[in-house]
């Protein structure tokens, strides 16, 4: 690994005044295993004293071949890989990928499913921003906000775990719906948890926002102008901090964002402090969005079939075959995603799977031969979901910006090509311009507020 040379900078210059010291540009290697960098990346800095003259950013240390793996596994089996793209907000990746496959199939989720997806996306946005601010503050030496924000994140992780069965790698969303309906009382607990998160957030707000040290470290540091940011493909909070109110939830509304009321916070100068403020305000707006969604969420099915019809108990062939239709229609549905607490007969009604897109509920897979065969057919290699040949591009507003998927189907059970447009790929591309002229220590602060996630950067 040879350090790069910067042709624009002379490595050694003769002193202009005789008798003074020789000026020398020093190359400093930051990363790929650097303590203050929550992610693997190598930045080679060309330094004049402590000032950054130039920077060369090398990525790829966490390249895990996401796109190649998608071509190997089936459409439905790629969800676990999408979890691990941006592992701080895995639910948004799930949602975006599922929407992409649904666009290929030309189906639309049910109302209830769309609301659930909005709620989980916003939860993810909050956990992402919490982690970003926590890590950024910690890297600047403020340990207390880290502890507080991790505590806040834990409240949400507990809810995510209750909903999906996993804290981090959730794989909750399915093509045509979500894995299972919300557990009973989950929305009320979410509402309470948001209050607790808000308490921690306000605490950190008091600790950081008017903190002299924090302001000195972040204000007018890592500045980027709106036009430069736009031309380099910046999106998300980093773009909005420059004053450009671009938000895909507003500009190209998807799911049910056009029915919810929220503001898009923007900064003014595009420095680290603005990015911090934008993220703080976005968390409040996300809380607002979740509260509205909780009020508006309708009942009904959470999954649709390949033709786009909601799947309800009346259409459930298996139940009919087992002669349980009359019984089913009269019962109150209290579904539960875990196998333990499920009222078996009710689960059929809500999770009734379409044979060609949605996996049957676990109760069916383990409980009857129809469900087992259906599961087997969807999981088996070369079978599973088969979108018609074609290509689509889908973009969502992820926590870091525009998360896009370009998908090509050749009509077989596997993707022909899946390409992910990670938001922080473009942010890192422009990072050298943001740190030029700043001090070495400012590199850490700028890197922190960009919120690079190696999983989605390198895929």
């Amino acid at each position: 690994m040879n350090p790069p040379t910067f042709p624009s900078i002379p490595v050694e210059t003769t002193p202009s005044v005789p008798g003074t010291l020789t000026q020398r540009v020093m190359l400093l290697n930051m990363g790929p295993s650097h303590p203050a960098m929550h992610g693997v990346i190598r930045i080679v800095l060309a330094l004049d004293g402590e000032r950054v003259e130039d920077a060369d950013i090398e990525i790829g240390y966490l390249h895990r071949a996401f796109e190649k793996e998608c071509e190997v596994v089936g459409w439905g089996q790629a969800f676990p890989y999408t979890d691990r793209l941006n592992y701080v907000s895995p639910l948004i990746n799930n949602v975006c990928y599922a929407m992409g496959v649904e666009k290929l199939l030309d189906i639309h989720p049910t109302e209830r499913c769309a609301y659930i997806r909005v709620i989980i996306s916003e939860i993810s946005r909050i956990t992402d921003h919490l982690t970003c601010i926590a890590a950024c503050a910690m890297e600047m030496g403020a340990m207390t906000p880290f502890i507080y924000l991790m505590k806040a994140r834990e409240y949400l992780y507990e809810l995510v775990e209750e909903l999906t069965g996993a804290r981090l790698t959730v794989s909750y969303v399915r093509v045509g719906g979500v894995k299972a309906d919300l557990p009973a009382g989950w929305l009320e607990r979410l509402d309470k948890a948001l209050d607790l998160v808000a308490i921690e957030m306000e605490e950190v707000d008091r600790l950081l926002t008017r903190n002299r040290i924090f302001i000195d470290r972040t204000k007018n540091v890592g500045k980027v102008s709106s036009d430069v940011a736009w031309s380099l493909g910046f999106t998300g909070p980093v773009l909005r901090s420059t004053g450009r109110a671009r938000d895909l939830r507003k500009d190209e509304p998807y799911l049910v964002y056009d029915r919810l009321d929220f503001d898009v916070p923007v900064g003014t100068v595009g420095d680290n402090y603005d990015r911090y403020l934008v993220r703080m305000e976005e968390m409040r707006q996300s809380t607002r969005l979740i509260r509205q969604a909780i009020r508006q969420i309708p009942g009904g099915a959470v999954q649709v079939d390949a033709a786009g019809h909601p799947l309800t108990g009346a259409q459930m062939v298996d139940a009919a075959k087992m002669g349980m239709t009359a019984d089913l229609l009269l019962r109150t549905v209290r579904p539960d995603p875990t196998l333990e607490g499920t009222d078996k007969t009710s689960a059929h009604r809500v999770n009734a799977p379409d044979k060609t897109t949605v996996l049957p509920p676990k109760e069916d897979t383990y409980g009857n031969i129809e469900g087992l065969m259906n599961h087997f057919m969807l999981i088996m290699e070369g079978e599973g979901i088969k979108p018609p040949p074609g290509e689509i591009y889908i973009a969502n507003e992820a926590a870091n910006g525009e998360l896009g998927f370009y998908m090509v189907s050749d009509g077989s059970g596997r993707a022909y090509r899946v390409h992910c447009r990670p938001p922080c790929y473009y942010l890192m591309q422009g990072m050298d311009r943001m740190i030029k002229g700043d001090m070495i220590a400012d590199v850490i602060a700028t890197f922190g507020t960009i919120n690079m996630i190696a999983g989605e950067l390198d895929r």
Binding site: P32, L62, E69
Partner: protein, 166 residues
């Protein structure tokens, strides 16, 4: 020597136990965080799960000051030389924890870019499966490693004779 041929004597075994006790309660981890597992590492080390209770509180961000290398997250082929260099920089005695299934076996990344388990590059003392492992699993692994350290034979010169695997 005569003492060795008859097994450890009273004094050396007491000394070994004492050093082991001191070492197991003062582990200085170096978190080699690369990927998703880092999120759970954050959870483990912050207040809610509190790794501090087990004498592994203070992450040292220099391998030269650490005696426990926690490899947290997928190691790609591009990262492998760096991991080995970091391991070589650590002073003896040193222990290695493979945190998460990617570091144990490569996980479900069976592809051109990923190392199929870090024990192909460096020796590993403790494997933590899970994708990512739950914080409780990490605490359990740390306790197991401490038991392992206690069961090892330590000398004043720094060499450690690890107990046989079973």
């Amino acid at each position: 020597m005569a003492v060795d041929s008859q097994g450890p004597g009273f004094f050396t075994s007491r000394l070994s136990d004492g050093i082991a006790w001191a070492r197991k309660w003062s582990l200085f981890p170096y978190p080699f965080v690369t990927a998703c597992c880092g999120m759970e590492y954050m959870s483990v080390s912050s207040a809610h799960y509190d790794l501090d209770r087990f004498g592994a509180a203070w992450p040292r961000f220099s391998p030269r000051q650490a005696d426990l290398l926690m490899v947290v997250g997928t190691i790609s082929q591009k990262m492998a030389p760096i991991l080995r260099m970091v391991h070589e920089q650590m002073c003896d005695p040193k222990w290695v924890i493979a945190f998460g299934v990617c570091t144990c076996t490569g996980g479900f990344y069976d592809n051109y870019a990923t190392v199929q388990g870090i024990d192909r590059i460096i020796p590993v003392d403790c494997y933590i499966p899970g994708c990512p492992p739950r914080p409780e699993t990490v605490l359990d692994a740390l306790m197991k490693l401490q038991a392992n350290i206690q069961a090892s034979r330590h000398t004043l010169t720094g060499s450690v004779q690890r107990p046989p695997r079973h």
